[in-house]
Assembly symmetry: C2
Homo-oligomer: 552 residues x 2
């Protein structure tokens, strides 16, 4: 250490280098961001241009000094595998150079919060060609070669373009920026003649859409590294669900379930949940995104536990409907609860079995809803002519959400944009956040053959190897939904047997959800949490079987 420093001289001693190039073959076991960059370039169909993505910046709440919980920008992560705040990444498509830009180490903050990666550490940790500091070489590094920062790098790129072509519009066309406001916050051209990155620019907006669609298309098909992360998230989630099963017979309140589930994940170093855990007993099981998780079980019969952790920003999404029964733990408390579980289980198993390349997800959804109508008719909850019920859409009163969604960096992961644009028939799979849509049946459905494998953009209505999609049928007895929109509506009320229904309010709701990987031949279920018979055995204190096929 230099002994020349004055008292309270906080000038940085780190870093020891400004730019480091990754050694060859250093990408083994790293998140494959360089491969993602190549896929992106192919998807954009261009041989030149600069992609610029920004990480989520560190932030505090308004009028507060408390930090907002950090959640990395998913597009940035896809091209870096870097979970640090305030970074940028550039990908020069023509030169094939992926550069991670890091904030300077703030030595005054190290004793408070530790610090982010140095450029040396970054090229070791991440699959990038080089790492640099956003603001370039500091004055204290007279021995290092002067390296430009990101603002100068951007300026050079834009100026080159400016010299070749003319005008901002044409240059912005060459730059793909997802969050112009984040880039502009650090971009200060050195001279007024330099082209600006005009965030209001029409061409920039167009290239933003193009970039987003291209990354979405890439993200839809998971590579082995991504699948391994989802698998790991599922393994931890399964352990947490199992812990709940082994203790549920001693619990009396939803909060205990959330507590043990969460603790089991944290103890396995999965601190982030992919979404707020849902632990809803009885009527709360019928609120799809219930989150208070603070009510007593009392005499309720079913607990819906919809909870999945993240692993390195990749989600799992797992739902189990668990029998509550103080007298006979592991048994369904009523024939009604057992019947609804059995029906949902049967639907889920049929849907999972239908997952294969080329299958239409909409077709599988259609099958799920048809089976649900059949089952509700068999139980006597629905009555009347099957096709009339189908046409009225009464099934939406009991199964009011989509069958599933993509899963990856988001729990409701992105879908590729359809070319041609998705028709209403494909909304089931292209809508990541399902809504109660006005009920609409497809006029016909089929399982089309896969499109050509050379296609870069998978047809979003068909299944392709590498897609990970949840299968989550459910049946609910949500009093608000049924009373306000179905029982009071003459289109639906003749098809619902009110007397039978009255026996089913006690069930609340049942949903069973697994994460399904579409493989070359068919599917693999990435979710290993116990269900069916295995789940019930675990509650009774037995070992718990695998999966629990066919015996809910």
């Amino acid at each position: 250490m230099s002994n020349q420093r004055q008292s309270h001289d906080f000038s940085p001693a780190l870093p020891t280098a400004i730019t480091l190039h990754a050694p060859p073959n250093s990408s083994i076991d790293k998140y494959p961001s360089k491969s993602h960059a190549h896929r992106l370039a192919a998807q954009l169909h261009v041989t030149n241009g600069l992609v610029v993505l920004a990480a989520t910046p560190a932030a505090t709440y308004p009028d507060s000094d408390q930090p907002v919980p950090f959640r990395q920008d998913r597009y940035f992560y896809y091209l870096t595998g870097c979970d640090e705040p305030g970074c940028y990444v550039t990908y020069d498509i023509g030169k094939d150079v992926l550069t991670l830009w890091l904030p300077a180490i703030d030595e005054k903050r190290v004793v408070w919060t530790g610090r982010g990666s140095t450029v040396e550490e970054a090229v070791e940790r991440y699959d990038v060609d080089e790492a640099r500091y956003i603001h370039g070489t500091g004055a204290f590094h007279s021995s290092s070669a002067i390296r430009l920062g990101l603002p100068q790098y951007l300026e050079a790129h834009l100026r080159q373009c400016w010299n070749r072509a003319a005008g901002n519009e044409s240059c912005n066309k060459n730059v793909y920026v997802l969050s112009p406001e984040r880039v502009n916050s650090i971009y200060n051209p050195s001279s007024p003649e330099t082209p600006l990155l005009a965030s209001a620019s029409r061409t920039l907006e167009a290239s933003r859409t193009e970039l987003k669609n291209a990354i979405n298309a890439c993200r839809t098909l998971k590579d082995p590294h991504e699948i391994a992360l989802i698998r790991r998230a599922n393994a931890i989630t399964a352990a947490a669900h199992t812990a709940v099963l082994r203790n549920i017979s001693t619990y009396t309140n939803e909060a205990q379930v959330e507590a043990l589930y969460t603790a089991t994940c944290i103890a396995q170093h999965a601190k982030q949940q992919a979404y707020s855990p849902i632990a809803g007993a009885g009527p709360n099981a019928s609120v799809l995104h219930y989150g208070a998780n603070d009510e007593d079980f009392g005499s309720r019969e079913v607990l819906v536990l919809d909870a999945g952790c993240e692993w390195h920003c990749y989600a799992s999404d797992v739902t189990r409907a668990i029998p509550l029964n103080t007298a006979h733990p592991g048994e369904w408390a009523s024939a009604e609860a057992a019947g609804i579980y059995k029906l949902v289980e049967t639907v889920q198993e049929a849907c999972i079995a239908a997952m294969e390349p080329g299958a239409s997800f909409l077709g599988i959804t259609y099958m799920a809803r048809r089976m649900t109508v059949d089952g509700l008719l068999a139980l006597g909850i629905l009555k009347g002519d099957k096709e009339a019920i189908w046409k009225a859409g009464t099934v939406m009163g009991f199964f009011p959400h989509g069958l599933g969604h993509h899963l990856g960096l988001e729990v409701h992961d992105v879908s590729p944009v359809a070319h041609p644009p998705a028709s209403s028939l494909t909304t089931c799979i292209t809508t990541s956040s399902p809504e109660i849509l006005p009920y609409q049946l497809p006029r016909s459905f089929n399982f089309p053959l896969p499109t050509s494998s050379s296609s870069h953009s998978p047809d979003p209505s068909l299944l392709h190897p590498g897609m990970v999609i949840t299968i989550e049928p459910g049946i609910y007895f949500n009093r608000f939904l049924l009373e306000h929109f179905f029982l009071s509506n003459p289109t639906h009320s003749p098809f619902i047997d009110r007397e039978v229904l009255d026996r089913y309010w006690r069930v609340g709701g049942v949903r069973i959800e697994d994460d399904i990987l579409v493989t070359g031949q068919g599917y693999e279920n990435l979710t290993t949490a116990l269900k069916g018979r295995g789940m019930r055995e675990a509650i009774r204190g037995g070992k718990g079987g695998e999966g629990g096929e066919g015996d809910g």
Copy 2:
């Protein structure tokens, strides 16, 4: 239910009333927001004007459908006690009317997320004079009297002002808005002649500052309801710390500590932490806001657990330094660890004992630093002339943060603005987020007498009954801090005995923190988590005494 509804007619059936007035005496056991409004009016020294505060809106992450975890705006909460998103509150100072404005119930979302309060529920739950919907009466309520929404209410207020005075500036002077952008997002005057709420207005900015300072002054002195909430948060936190103590001898990794601590809070329905829990062993204990919590204990000797939950938006903030010792659980693993704990314990007890009305917090901080120097000299870590060490500020290498901060709706709660503005001498208490400040000793210190009790703004440098302040001395052996700023600096290096210091790196860090209420006579320690001897007994499996005075 009406049977007139069409299929998929989602027109709202709720609410059954638009405005409800609270019945008299309904505020018992409610969060005392009306009393807070009265305190605010007194603090503003005006008899007329309209206060407008906005709740945190519900939001999703950029380019994602995932909701941002909701955290209520603390200023809004102070005037409502309402933890629901997207609301507003107005307080008409002249008429003494506190109105809570609620978003309309979105019936299509009820099956997804449940719903917020109706106006009927709101006047029951919250201590407000009336509750209304932001957008007023819906067309479906032909039988109810037409009630105006918030935009019309604001417009009427501004127009009244406009008619009396003239111009936007003068009217904006009469409106106290904390977040003009949130208010403008719903405020659309019906005619171009209506005055605008100009967020860029200089008078609006001035009234914003005035409002914020006035609420800050109110928030600094806690009322009995607020103290009860902090006490409850502390009770849950104490139970969670105790659970950790009882299990720590079986644990091998920081993640297990965070898991059990968090689970214990959640199981007691405290889902929100006041800040990210810190569970740092060995060197991690010397990173003040460490948060990874994922390393093995190995042979480390001290675990710093700095973790406190929230209860109804009120914080607790508790730190314990816990002995790690596989051979002899509950004993300090080395004389060095025991010595540092004992020193910090002694300093903390002396500081707590000095907490009383009229005392100067800066004076107590001064005492803490003097005692720390004495202790480090006694241990041989520091050497040389005591006054020379003091003058150099070398103590900042071992105790680099403030002694404490206000606690309330924020873990680093607000402080009143000093009148006259705080001198550098008072930064210890007015800076809620302590930094490593260039070391500065007060030229003198004393314990001034309390200022007149009729003062509305407590002198921020002196303690007043109702303040809740943390006392959290610490001693750290942070290699980065010491090597970069002290050992390499000739101002400090002669005072540090490197050989002795080398025996202390193993300790990592020790911090002990309690939440102290200043009472009329002295203080009350709101923190009940075990420390000292009681803590060590709990680790050994004993019952654990109270507090552990004098025997670390």
